[in-house]
């Protein structure tokens, strides 16, 4: 790549980054200045910035309860996802009769949107007696097919001689998975953690349907309650939005290096 092309591509990437980051900047700016969204002309730099809107958002809703509910559900989802997806991904690296059908079934399932299965999911959750509970909120997120395929491609990238050597040493399949496959698939584990955490943390529709009482509400539901009750408190509303997205941004930033590697591992195999 010539120097001129490199500079051009960098300029393009910087411009695209600015466009992508502008809404985030605007939310943060409004959360510390409380400026009306429709102020004309809009100011790029916040006037009289302060953090008191965060204090207002913290006390206006029961923030600790919303946060702990979301966190408990997200942790549950992440742990169960890791266990189930890793086991499923490992099983799919094996050869067994009907493997093609299982793969086809999983791929076909990905094409059905969650909204189309929401009524059966609700009825099933109700039959299990899990409505209005954290387990009921977490249940549909216990496994993601994308993550199963991610583990599968990562496991397939590990040399089979390693697995055979472990088998000769007498390790069971479960121990091969936990002692060899998972430690060598750190990017896949990081990707799984990020994706399942963010999907669980940000989900709005399913908790809205399952949750009946305020003590089980998650952060996105709290945000809607906040919006419904206090529509004119712009600064506090945006501060609450920042507090809602902050944990998922933190998890992503901490694991982004492994996340990018996790998405590309296996893609270059062979």
């Amino acid at each position: 790549m010539s120097r001129r092309t490199r500079i051009l591509s960098h300029i393009t990437l910087i411009l695209v980054s600015v466009i992508m980051l502008t809404p985030i900047y605007w939310v943060v700016k409004t959360s510390i200045s409380g400026e009306n969204l429709f102020t004309y002309p809009p100011s790029i730099v916040p006037h009289d910035p302060n953090l008191f809107y965060y204090v207002q958002a913290w006390y206006t809703v029961d923030f600790v309860r919303l946060f702990t509910n979301s966190l408990a559900i997200a942790v549950l989802v992440v742990v169960v996802n890791l266990v189930l997806n890793a086991m499923a991904g490992y099983a799919l690296t094996k050869h067994f009769p009907g493997k093609g059908m299982v793969l086809g079934f999983l791929l076909a399932s990905m094409m059905i949107p969650f909204h189309a299965t929401i009524i059966p999911a609700y009825l099933l959750t109700a039959k299990l007696g899990l409505l209005n509970s954290k387990l009921g909120i977490a249940l549909p997120f216990f496994s993601h097919i994308v993550c199963i395929f991610l583990f599968k491609s990562n496991f397939e990238a590990i040399p089979s001689s390693l697995v055979q050597a472990a088998r000769l040493d007498g390790l069971s399949e479960l121990r091969i998975l936990t002692r060899i496959m998972l430690p060598l698939s750190r990017p896949a584990v990081a990707t799984n953690i990020i994706l399942s955490f963010i999907w669980s943390w940000n989900d709005f529709l399913w908790p809205l349907i399952v949750v009946r009482s305020p003590d089980q509400e998650t952060m996105p539901l709290g945000l809607v309650s906040f919006l419904a009750s206090f529509e004119d408190t712009t600064g506090a509303l945006y501060a609450f939005c920042v507090l809602v997205v902050l944990p998922s941004m933190l998890v992503f930033l901490l694991a982004q290096k492994d996340f990018i590697r996790g998405l590309t591992t296996g893609a270059t195999k062979g």
């Binding site: 302060n50 008191f52 204090v55 207002q56 006390y59 009750s229 206090f230 933190l250 901490l254």
Partner: protein, 120 residues
Amino acid sequence: MRNHWVWNRFTITFGMIALAIVAWNIYVSFNDGGRIVGKVVDAMGQPVAGAQVVFWRQTVTSLEKVAETRTDAEGHYRFHNNGQYALVLTARIANAQSARHTVPLWFRNQNVQIAPIVVE
């Protein structure tokens, strides 16, 4: 190997967050008496004795009176257990009164020293 598990970006980040939360809570526990202290002065900056100071609570739609007191000979006033995270104070005496004085706080029931309220 052990160091790698202890000193990585996850443990450091979450450790720092936990440390900040603990430090903040210690600070709050030492400063949450809800004490409001301030002074009422006139346009010349002289203390105003016997001024009526009212402490209001901001609700979604209006102001609700929480407490009221009078300034001493040196223009000082004091409230206890404010129980709020944002204060609104007004002062008046005879024909003079102050503008509405809004003071946001960092946490509920914070001890706070208010800048002089001017009545004119």
